[in-house]
């Protein structure tokens, strides 16, 4: 293996790993290359990324190496991640939204009972994102607030009306049918 090939290989391995990659791990994965050569390749890589004009670098952490963005770009990096996160509902949010969509009108405690998990936080997020709305109070002890999905919810899903939601039977059919052999 040439120096360049080894360096490229090490770069792709560090890139793809969520945990810091140790020298031992690299050596186990790249067969037949002495540790000293791998170490040298890593050091060259690290130096190359530390140079100007690079936005990412390899840092030493937890007994290994890991890619990170350079601190100078912190502000923009966070801004980008925020934009991206705003586009997504967490799985808790999605679950809660589903419970409301299928069981509306519902109260918080009904949603929580459905999920088996307290859903107040998810409800709040959904309200902020205007995916659900408060439509009144239930005539029951404590007069809890009653929630429904909003117009925006329909827009978000590209539905004309709530009738457009897949029925539970259909979803069960899609998900449970054991014709999965096919694909």
């Amino acid at each position: 293996m040439t120096d360049d090939t080894l360096k490229a290989l090490v770069e792709s391995l560090i890139f793809v790993s969520q945990e810091p990659v140790s020298l031992e791990r690299l050596q186990a994965v790249i067969e037949g290359v002495p540790a000293a050569e791998i170490q040298a390749a890593v050091e060259e890589l690290v130096a190359g990324h530390d140079a100007g004009g690079r936005g990412i670098h390899i840092i030493r952490a937890g007994g290994g190496w890991i890619f990170a963005t350079k601190p100078a770009h912190d502000r923009e990096v966070r801004r980008l991640l925020q934009i991206e996160r705003k586009n997504r509902l967490s799985s808790a949010g999605l679950e809660t939204l589903a419970a409301i969509a299928y069981r509306q009108p519902v109260t918080q405690s009904e949603v929580s009972a459905i999920r088996g998990v307290d859903s107040t936080g998810a409800l709040k997020t959904l309200l902020e994102k205007k995916l659900i709305k408060i439509v009144g109070r239930k005539k029951a002890p404590g007069n809890p607030l009653v929630y429904r999905t909003s117009e925006e919810f329909l827009l978000y899903l590209g539905l004309d009306s709530l009738d457009g939601l897949p029925s539970e039977a259909e979803i069960a059919k899609i998900l449970e049918e054991e014709k999965a052999l096919e694909a």
Binding site: S12, I66, D74, R78, L81, Q82, D118, T120, A122, K124
Partner: protein
């Protein structure tokens, strides 16, 4: 919505009569289970005979097709229905072709039209598949990341500023846990709100961020814990401190507002 030109009912709703027995084709046979379905088999037969897809000799193709179908031990029942349905279609078209007619048929009246349109469309999908497969084979070797790398600095990603309600709620949970864990801790030293407030603000100045649940657990008695909870509530309410919970049921971190650093000490 672009409709496919196919006018045939979906295959799964089809019930078709069993095919008439027929002799096998020219002896050169491929196992039926290598075909994706009846259309795939038909395309194979058409190509093997080097037939123009627009002018299929229906009688010959039907004979070949049924020849394959006879070896149905090789396919399971689910798939057999689909193959049989196309067999019935072939036989139907063959019978239509045999009807005596006074004039030649216009192209759109050709009984084979329906089948030809389907075959042409399916052939295109199959050809596209071979190109898409090439793409897949390249892409599948290129690994992307689905995690966020370690970030710098103190501020967390998109923190959710906590409502008092949520703070109270997590308090409730911890209380429950403590009650269950240890009922002995009811008695302890008397703690005043002032003393606790001083202790808390001092700690916040010292550490800048505290893990509230950890701090809470460190209190010697339930009463003391209660007092410290109300102190945090007070600090947040008076906008001296910020409490953030990144995710529901996770720990709450408390820190002083930057602009409140000076005033906090005097509260």
């Amino acid at each position: 919505m672009p409709e496919s030109s196919v006018e045939i009912p979906p295959v799964e709703s089809a019930s078709a009569p069993p095919p008439a027995p027929a002799e096998a084709g020219d002896g050169y046979q491929v196992r039926l289970d290598v075909f994706e379905g009846p259309l795939d088999l038909l395309l194979f037969l058409i190509r093997k005979k080097k037939i123009d897809i627009h002018d299929i000799p229906i009688a010959a193709i039907t004979r070949d097709y049924l020849g394959y179908l006879e070896r149905k031990t090789e396919i399971n029942l689910d798939r057999e229905a689909e193959f049989v349905f196309v067999a019935a279609l072939l036989i139907y078209i063959k019978s239509q072709m045999l009807l005596p007619r006074e004039t030649d048929l216009a192209e759109h009246e050709d009984p084979r039209r329906v089948l030809i349109d389907r075959l042409i469309e399916y052939e295109k999908v199959k050809a596209a598949c071979s190109l898409l497969r090439e793409r897949e084979d390249v892409q599948i070797l290129q690994w992307k990341r689905d995690f966020i790398p370690p970030l710098h600095g103190e501020s967390e990603l998109e923190p959710v500023e906590l409502s008092l309600f949520e703070l109270a709620e997590s308090f409730f949970r911890v209380m429950k846990r403590r009650e269950a864990d240890d009922t002995r801790v009811i008695r302890g030293r008397d703690v005043s709100v002032e003393v606790k407030m001083k202790e808390l603000t001092a700690l916040l100045h010292e550490r800048s961020v505290i893990d509230f649940l950890e701090y809470f657990e460190s209190n010697a008695s339930l009463e003391e814990a209660l007092v410290s909870f109300f102190c945090v509530l007070e600090l947040v309410k008076s906008r001296v401190a910020v409490a953030v919970q990144d995710e529901l049921f996770q720990t709450i971190r408390v820190w002083l507002r930057k602009d409140a650093h000076r005033t906090a000490a005097h509260d």
